[in-house]
């Protein structure tokens, strides 16, 4: 039997009510994500990117249409069933982190792994590995409030990856990072993707989108482009001079 897609949506629609006025945010999205794929969702602000990814994670209800995760219908689930499904299968990186304020960084990252059934030792090892990769090893004992925004964002990514989720969803995961920290995040995303992690993320950052296999562009709540990035025309092992042309 074929493996079902990790995500499949059918004519997915979200309409917000703004003082009785219906505001369509997502207007009939059909999206299919295969296991191991890395999808970047791009588009101007207000194009429905965040709403779409929140619906995929069960953090926002759909108005109509269907969401299937791993071959199971998910849009009809109630809140607690979604919570269980997320715990088992989905890591989510929020634009504004949502870390648990009264827990240390280490506990924030270990918690999802423990909830998913990992042993304390496994959870600790995974946490050490993730925080190390993101340059945060020495912040493990800190409280989230003691961290800068960029540090909190990286902790949120580590937390989302802690239980090796079937699906990683992220909303602007580099929105608060300077270029050096972005480099650490890019490296980690590239590494987990090579290890088979399925990733769907919303981003304005072309460096992040450049890691993806496929880019989905939204405009006014609809997909206006969905396709693989073309293969490089350049020699794979060229130097900077082959990619960057200095004029002189």
């Amino acid at each position: 039997m074929d493996t079902p897609p990790v995500i499949s949506t059918v004519n997915l629609v979200k309409i917000y009510q703004d003082g009785g006025v219906p505001v369509p945010a997502v207007r009939g999205v059909d999206l299919r994500v295969e296991p191991g794929e890395f999808i970047a969702i791009m588009g101007p602000s207000g194009s429905g990117k965040s709403t779409l990814v929140h619906m995929l994670g069960g953090l926002d209800t759909r108005t109509s249409g269907e969401i299937w995760l791993d071959g199971e219908r998910a849009d009809t689930l109630g809140e607690s069933a979604w919570a269980l499904l997320r715990r088992r299968k989905v890591g989510f990186v929020f634009q504004f982190f949502n870390l648990v304020a009264n827990m240390t960084v280490a506990d924030n990252v270990e918690l999802p792994a423990l909830l998913a059934g990992a042993s304390p030792r496994e959870a600790r090892e995974r946490r050490e590995q993730l925080l190390g990769a993101l340059g945060l090893a020495d912040r493990a004992g800190a409280a989230p409030a003691q961290l800068a925004g960029g540090e909190q964002q990286r902790v949120a990514l580590a937390r989302a990856l802690a239980n090796r989720p079937r699906l990683l969803l992220a909303d602007e995961p580099t929105g608060n990072l300077d270029s050096r920290n972005t480099r650490d995040v890019l490296k980690l995303l590239g590494q987990v993707h090579r290890d088979g992690q399925t990733i769907v993320l919303v981003t304005h950052d072309a460096r992040v989108a450049g890691l993806a296999d496929r880019v989905v562009s939204l405009l006014d709540g609809q997909i206006v482009d969905d396709g693989a990035l073309p293969a490089s025309r350049r020699r794979p092992r060229g130097g900077v001079g082959d990619v960057v042309e200095l004029r002189g």
């Binding site: 101007p44 072309a206 989108a209 206006v224 073309p230 350049r234």
Partner: protein, 168 residues
């Protein structure tokens, strides 16, 4: 390459091969290594324009070598080059022309053009990501150059997004 050679000669007189090595050492892989022929051709032109002079230096067991040094006119040309503001990136590029002309003639749909260009830019970004990853972290010049190229690409992509919003 003219101003680069003038700048290197302002530091100290040198012969052609030394200049080639100095360029390679300064820029690393950030600048495509020039061949020695190109360097001699450029030096010849600079000499003709009076910006550099050459003296023959005798070598034991080998043919004389030409050592080049900067003239006062060369120094002035170098100062002018350093002082003048550097051209910014092109705005009216070929893609812009396509975007304007394509719908007039019915040869292509603007949205399709923008979508294709976006994918192309992102694949260039992927190349830059890979390049950054395999560049020696101590090679500051190369990394800054890559980062500059990334920021330009980001601006191009933001602009495409604007085009798509306003033209749809």
């Amino acid at each position: 390459m003219r101003p680069f050679l003038l700048a290197l000669l302002a530091k100290e007189p040198a012969h052609g091969y030394e200049l080639k090595q100095a360029l390679e050492q300064t820029f690393g892989s950030a600048y495509p290594s020039p061949n020695i022929g190109q360097i001699y051709v450029t030096l010849g032109r600079l000499e003709k324009d009076g910006l550099v002079r050459a003296v023959d230096v005798e070598q034991s067991n080998r043919p004389n070598k030409k050592v080049y040094y900067l003239t006062a006119a060369g120094r002035e040309a170098l100062d002018d080059w350093v002082d003048e503001p550097t051209e910014g990136p092109r705005v009216r590029d070929e893609f812009f022309m396509k975007l304007v002309l394509a719908p007039m003639t019915g040869i292509a749909d603007r949205m399709a053009l923008i979508n294709r260009q976006r994918r192309h830019y992102l694949s260039l970004m992927r190349d830059l990501n890979e390049l950054a990853e395999r560049t020696d972290p101590d090679n500051q010049v190369a990394l800054l150059l890559i980062e500059g190229a990334m920021l330009h690409l980001q601006a191009d992509l933001d602009w495409l997004e604007r085009c798509q919003e306003d033209l749809s």
